[in-house]
């Protein structure tokens, strides 16, 4: 009989990532609705065992750890296999991950490998009266919000990063650290990373910017973006642009924000010369001023 929750965690510099701590908080809340069934966590990668105590303090009852070479190298193929092994070991009702750079690649595959589909980009998760996972997620670019009952066994969901704030650690919590039951061999890696190219950072990345000053069609041409740049620099943020502005060739598409461009979650978004479309921000944890 399936029981409990399995969280697919990630490691950042040998510690559970912020999204992993967020997922643990959500996992504990879900567990409270299903008679405190266990919250298990997969930590796969370099430093997994060392990160386990922090994860336990944040709500994990069991931590499955694996540090096999392909996992330490960050191969997504290896993480998909590790997640499937952990799901076999934990036999959970629910599997929860995060829609991070890794999770957006890995979680859909985990869901299909476990015989279901992924409740993607969830802003909240709950359990209904029949014990089903209820996933709430923005769709249609934030124009609508869907609530889905997940029917898979297990149900699989990915949380939107920053949808909740991670909880405080409780050092008195105890938990179990268990090695993943199967070794993850290099042969599982079929999409091989052969080269990594770091981009010369030109100012702040849009995705990380706490402040975004965005311009659209209403600016009438590329020239006013210089002023937006000055304002963004002053506010410690980055410049963005609407699809219309990028389509017009005023700025490269790497500046494009929103549905067809970059997904961002600034604290402050200033839209200048952009009509409508603020619905894109409706679903984000963002205060909108335009």
């Amino acid at each position: 009989m399936s029981s409990g929750i399995l969280i697919i965690g990630e490691l950042t510099n040998g510690a559970p990532s912020s999204t992993t701590l967020e997922a643990l908080l959500v996992g504990r809340a879900l567990a409270a609705s299903i008679s405190n069934e266990p919250v298990a966590l997969l930590l796969a990668g370099a430093g997994a065992a060392g990160a386990a105590p922090t994860a336990i303090a944040h709500g994990a009852d069991v931590v499955y750890t694996a540090e096999d070479a392909p996992l330490a190298e960050g191969a997504h193929d290896a993480l998909v296999v590790a997640a499937a092994v952990a799901a076999k070991q934990a036999d959970p009702r629910f599997v929860v991950g995060s829609k991070t750079v890794v999770g957006r690649d890995v979680m859909p595959r985990v869901a299909f490998r476990l015989g279901t589909a992924l409740a993607q980009d969830c802003t909240s998760l709950a359990v209904d009266g029949q014990g089903r996972l209820l996933a709430t997620r923005p769709v249609y670019g934030g124009n609508a919000e869907a609530t889905l009952a997940c029917l898979g066994t297990p149900a699989v969901a990915a949380l939107r990063p920053k949808a909740v704030e991670a909880g405080e650690p409780d050092a008195s919590r105890s938990g179990e650290v268990v090695a993943l039951a199967e070794a993850i061999d290099a042969s599982v890696v079929r999409a091989r990373s052969v080269q990594r190219v770091e981009q010369q950072a030109t100012g702040m990345r849009l995705e990380d910017a706490p402040v975004i000053v965005s311009g659209g069609r209403g600016l009438g041409g590329p020239e006013p973006f210089a002023q937006l740049e000055a304002l963004a620099t002053m506010l410690g943020g980055a410049v963005g642009a609407s699809r219309a502005a990028c389509d017009a060739g005023w700025l490269p598409s790497s500046y494009q924000v929103g549905l067809t461009g970059k997904t961002v979650s600034p604290d402050l978004y200033i839209a200048i010369g952009i009509s409508g479309a603020t619905n894109i921000w409706r679903a984000a944890a963002t205060r909108v001023l335009s």
Binding site: P108, A117, L148, V197
Partner: protein, 265 residues
């Protein structure tokens, strides 16, 4: 040997549809009839990626697959006008666009198998309606093919696909042996505009249509992943405060002070 490329493209409601024209009735989205649908933006970029590969390798074909209940032919034929070789519409009253990626994954896999000898499947990173961002991954899992996601560049030579995968701080080069699945991201660049010759040529093409029966799939037998409980326009929690001043400069100053008061600057 001819490189056989399949592009999965979805017809969606125009993501630029104003919120006021966006209606939800009985958990279904509708837009006014005078707002035509579009090919999902990322899928147009998938077509572009396929055409660039074809130009680079020469001996290649590009087949577009699109699943739905009904199509606006002049819209869905755009990939042909761009230069794709053929389009197969996977069209059946049962092929309803829904929150559940299970059906499109099953149908597209059946179509890829029916085409046979496919080397490379390319799709956009997500569709602008349900934003599920997982049908390509599902296809790769079911076919047990390798997948490289979020590509800004795709090359396919000598039985290998080579992808520049977008990362927050740059990119990584990922290689996989064909057959494989690739998803493309907006960093790939703008899809080409169809030229007049392409448009004229596409007008003469009647798309192939494959139904559920043609594909040997009974959609009613699929186990759904989700039950849609509700689909609503989110409660608007937007609070608008107009800030005015004696002149623009004064209003700007007051806005800056208001932002500072809530610690946003």
């Amino acid at each position: 040997m001819t490189l056989k490329i399949v592009v999965a493209a979805k017809q969606v409601i125009d993501p630029e549809t104003p919120l006021s024209a966006f209606q939800i009735d009985a958990n279904r989205v509708s837009t006014p009839a005078n707002l035509p649908p579009v090919v999902n933006g990322f899928d147009e970029q998938a077509v572009e990626a396929a055409l660039r590969i074809k130009e680079a390798v020469g001996d290649a074909t590009v087949t577009v697959l699109s699943m739905g209940t009904d199509f606006a032919l002049d819209v869905i034929k755009k990939p042909l006008a761009m230069g794709a070789d053929e389009i197969v519409l996977l069209q059946d009253p049962a092929f309803v666009n829904s929150e559940d990626p299970t059906l499109p994954v099953t149908i597209l896999v059946a179509a890829i198998r029916k085409l046979g000898d496919v080397d490379l499947v390319i799709a956009g990173r997500q569709a602008s309606d349900w934003d599920n961002a997982q049908v390509p991954m599902g296809i790769a899992e079911v076919l047990d093919w390798p997948i490289a996601t979020f590509a800004q560049k795709v090359e396919a030579t000598d039985g290998t696909v080579r992808v520049e995968r977008v990362l927050p701080d740059g990119h990584e080069v990922v290689e996989a042996t064909l057959p494989a699945v690739v998803t493309v991201s907006n960093e790939l660049g703008s899809p080409r505009y169809p030229n007049m010759r392409g448009i004229m040529a596409s007008r003469r093409v009647q798309p192939l249509i494959w139904t559920a029966a043609d594909l040997g799939v009974d959609p009613t037998l699929l186990a759904p992943a989700f039950e849609l409980i509700s689909l609503v326009k989110p409660e608007s929690t937007v609070k608008t405060e107009m800030i005015t001043g004696e002149d623009d400069e004064d209003a700007g100053r007051k806005l800056a002070l208001a932002l500072r008061a809530v610690r946003l600057v």
